[in-house]
């Protein structure tokens, strides 16, 4: 989910001996200083942390790292439907043509260079692409990697009988031609700017293995994958762990570890406990739950890293549902919510408040959106003026429509449920009745969400397409599934101006021009309050002392992206 190009402010924290279990006001002052303030106050490496001089990487793979994950990776064909944890494993088994580094720069991987208009890789009209590949790359079984594999990957994604995860972008490909073993060209049906970013998350699969299977959906490859990545498939104990071993002839830097174990620990409390007791070396996806972070920072021999993700938490209203269809109601609700209390108290100040659906690290982020203010009096006045009259029970109504709605989120997330209850009380004071109606993930994201049967949901999603700010599926009126659309516009947002801007942004290749387009889009959506934005998530992840090389990357959907460069600082 973390895929925005941009800078990363990684902050490593150490225990502060003076910070006891102070009162809330004291805690709030500390939190208000912000994460950066804390980090600045405490120089790196004060207690049991990375030493000043980073020890060199070993000359051959040594040792192992146990990655604790709260969900189980089960999909190992990188083109099939999967979630983030699966992608975390893919980064270690496979390679894309290029990837985006933590600073937002494109870095060639299987490609020799990034195709641009300047170097002739992309034609001026954006329609013809030519990619030259890195020579000498070998699959895990020793077979050389060639342009045929890239062509096969594209063909497979568009193969009608194959259960490809998504064809967005790939379905524009035409005339894919292998012009040399290390060169491939294709044409695009129309210019599509986000494609470069989409390819940074598209992993190349081996033609000689997968192509030999009768049905790619059930090929043996899917449970014993072969890639070009830094680690090769070891073994899998279903429900427990996946073990990968070093691929010594990897084409890039590393790997420095003999083994990587992805350990499935289905409960965040247990995951944290096992990190605490030393049974996992790194807490991967979902990291450390906010209530544990304070304590985690006091642990000896553990480092807690706070890194932003591209995921934005919001109250997403169904814009066709009764009271929520009224923009003034949404404005009043937004003013009525005590965002600071949610972020500071319930999320312990970890996430950053936001007004946009685009993460602030992205080049497309608009920093000039009006800031939220918590003002229940103004909210009340706005509703009074708009004709929403209070009834005998204190709940407002207008033309027979009560200001009453349900809010849903997935069950089993106690922190989010606390935020819901706080909002419920906040909104009660402005005469709006919110009811909590949570459901298991398989239910809430089924028809209920897909066909827009909800009133409102509390959800954290990466709105962007890969790392590209194109939000056409989310906000274009043609993407409303409940109205026959094919995108992800489940909130049923429709604004002709935004529609036009979205079409414009997807076909612009000049970044300055695109930035202006997406700044406008963010401005309009903030003004319409199509979503009530809460904050941009920051994930707290922990590593064991002596583990070197961890480098969070908002652009790779998983911070397991560079395990190839991790190693232990052990005395040789």
């Amino acid at each position: 989910m973390t895929k925005a190009p941009g800078r990363i402010g990684e902050e490593a924290f150490s225990a502060s001996p003076t910070e006891g279990t102070g009162s809330l006001s004291r805690r709030r002052t500390l939190l208000a200083t912000g994460a950066a303030g804390l980090a600045a106050a405490l120089p790196r490496g004060t207690s049991a942390q990375q030493p000043q001089r980073t020890p060199p990487a070993p000359d051959r793979p040594r040792g192992q790292v146990i990655v604790g994950l709260s969900q189980e990776p089960t999909v190992f064909n990188p083109l099939m439907p999967a979630i983030e944890v699966d992608q975390g494993v893919w980064w270690n088994l496979f390679s894309p043509l290029w990837f985006i580094d933590p600073d937002g720069k494109f870095v060639p991987d299987l490609a020799r260079e990034i195709p641009t208009v300047a170097n002739g890789g992309i034609s001026a009209d954006g329609l013809t692409w030519k990619v030259r590949l890195r020579p000498g790359v070998k699959w895990h079984d020793g077979t050389p990697f060639t342009a045929e594999d890239v062509k096969y990957t594209f063909d497979l994604i568009n193969n009608t009988s194959f259960r490809a995860r998504t064809r967005v972008g790939h379905n524009l490909l035409q005339d894919i031609t292998v012009t040399a073993p290390d060169e491939i060209t294709w044409r695009m049906e129309r210019a599509y700017a986000p494609y470069l970013s989409i390819l940074s998350l598209t992993f190349i699969v081996p033609k000689h293995v997968l192509g030999a299977a009768s049905d790619p959906n059930t090929a043996p490859f899917n449970t014993a994958p072969v890639g070009t990545g830094p680690f090769r498939w070891g073994s899998r104990t279903p429900g427990d762990n996946i073990t990968l071993t070093a691929h010594t002839s990897y084409h890039g830097r590393g790997p420095f570890l003999e083994r990587v174990v992805f350990k499935y620990i289905p409960d965040l409390t247990v995951l944290y406990t096992q990190f605490r007791t030393g049974q996992v070396d790194y807490t991967g996806i979902q990291g450390i739950s906010p209530p544990f972070v304070r304590e985690a920072r006091t642990l000896r021999g553990r480092t807690i890293h706070l890194s932003p993700t591209a995921s934005v938490e919001s109250i997403s209203p169904n814009l066709e549902f009764g009271p929520l269809a009224d923009k003034q109601v949404r404005q009043a609700l937004y003013m009525g919510m005590n965002k600071r209390a949610i972020i500071d108290a319930i999320y312990y100040g970890l996430p950053t408040p936001t007004e946009s659906f685009i993460p602030r690290e992205s080049w497309a982020f608009n920093p000039d959106l009006p800031a939220h203010r918590h003002d229940p009096a103004a909210a009340n006045a706005l509703l009074d003026a708009a004709g929403w009259q209070r009834g005998s029970d204190g709940i407002r109504a207008k033309n027979g429509v009560r200001l009453e709605f349900a809010n849903s989120t997935t069950t089993g997330n106690p922190v989010r449920e606390q935020a819901q209850q706080l909002l419920m009380q906040d909104w009660r004071t402005i005469g709006a009745a919110m009811r909590i109606n949570n459901m298991p993930a398989a239910v809430i994201w089924g028809e209920f969400w897909q066909q827009s049967r909800f009133n409102s949901v509390m959800v954290g999603v990466n709105f962007m397409l890969g790392s590209d700010p194109d939000v056409t599926p989310r906000f274009h009126s043609g993407g409303i599934p409940a109205k026959g659309g094919r995108g992800n516009n489940n909130i049923q947002y429709a604004n002709p101006e935004v529609d036009a801007l979205l079409v414009q942004g997807a076909t612009q290749f000049d970044q300055a021009a695109r930035r202006a387009t997406y700044a406008r889009i963010q401005g309009i959506i903030r003004d319409d309050l199509a979503i009530l934005p809460l904050f941009q998530y920051a994930v707290a992840e922990g590593t064991k002392e002596g583990l070197i090389g961890y480098k969070p990357n908002i652009n790779t959907s998983s911070n397991c992206w560079n395990i190839r460069e991790w190693y232990w600082a052990r005395a040789a």
Partner: protein, 316 residues
């Protein structure tokens, strides 16, 4: 005996058919589906979701899907998991070992300790020991297992650092000692409840027997008390326990679910929970049929063992 067996098996097949129909209907009619989890947080569009639902055949009418599933089942094909693409039988098999290991250890512990407590309680009825055992058993049966498990982890792994806080083994270790260290905590937590059940059963069974005529006769004959108890009472008191074993067999699957969750034990309980929250229909149906079969086999086995052990019973 043969005709009895045939009739019981016939009944079992009928039951399995009903179970499969009810289970299938509940599962497929429930809102949501295996693709839901991709709908909110990934790069998949509604177009992709609809296409894959079509490719998986999820849009066809329910009876058609059931008929197809049933026909394949009859040929021994349990289908493939939606989650990881592995055959259902392999998926079940790969989780069964962990559950068996945990359950058998806990059950053995429970039988040994529980029977001992039960017999002693029955012999010294209303003694302090008996009262304490009764109270203890009742409390053990009343504590929410997950709560007890979490407290146990907190005390023994986090604070005292004696035992690992979960998992079946240290990856890459593989020694017996390592396995045992991981087994102690979850097995003890699970055994707590089981011990309580066994001690209660054993106590009442023993009480029934102690007052039977033949025991009085044995006592009247002047046999020493221990010989009366060991020779006559215990053998007969153990009879009903056979039924208990048979009936406990199916709890092998469901019974450890909570414990497996708390201790991240990769067994059937976890698999079931994950499969149902993913709506992995083939695996959920597979587990359901598997456990229903276990229930039926368990009760049949219990009846037959009982008949073999107690000559007064004739199956017919």
């Amino acid at each position: 005996m043969i005709s009895y067996l045939v009739r019981r098996l016939g009944q079992a097949v009928l039951l399995l058919l009903i179970v499969s129909m009810v289970g299938f209907a509940i599962l497929y009619l429930a809102p949501g589906g295996p693709l839901s989890q991709f709908a909110a947080g990934t790069d998949m569009s509604q177009e992709d979701l609809d296409r894959i639902a079509e490719q998986l055949g999820l849009n066809r009418p329910l009876p058609v899907q059931y008929a197809e599933w049933l026909l394949r089942m009859l040929t021994g094909d349990w289908g493939r998991s939606y989650r990881d693409g592995e055959p259902v039988l392999y998926v079940i098999g790969s989780h069964l070992g962990a559950t068996l290991q945990l359950m058998l250890t806990a059950t053995l512990l429970a039988i040994m300790i529980g029977c001992w407590i039960g017999i002693l309680g029955a012999i010294r009825r209303y003694s302090i020991f008996d009262t304490l055992a009764t109270v203890g058993a009742m409390v053990a049966l009343s504590i929410p297992t997950f709560w007890f498990g979490l407290v146990a982890i907190y005390v023994f792994s986090v604070e005292l650092e004696w035992l690992p806080s979960g998992n079946r083994e240290t990856v890459g270790d593989g020694s017996l000692l390592d396995l045992l260290r991981h087994l102690i905590l979850p097995a003890s937590v699970l055994a707590l409840v089981e011990t309580a059940i066994w001690s209660r059963f054993m106590r009442s069974s023993m009480l029934d027997v102690v007052n039977q005529d033949y025991i009085r006769t044995a006592r009247a004959k002047g046999l020493p008390e221990w010989q009366v108890l060991a020779g006559h009472a215990m053998r007969n008191a153990a009879l009903p326990m056979i039924t208990v074993v048979g009936l406990q067999l199916p709890t092998l699957l469901g019974g450890a679910l909570v414990t497996e969750t708390v201790f991240t034990w990769p067994g059937m309980g976890r698999l079931f929970l994950d499969s149902i929250s993913y709506r992995d229909y083939p695996v959920v149906m597979g587990i359901l049929m598997f456990s229903a079969t276990m229930v039926l086999v368990g009760s049949l086995l219990a009846d037959m063992l009982y008949a073999v052990a107690d000559p007064r019973i004739r199956l017919g």
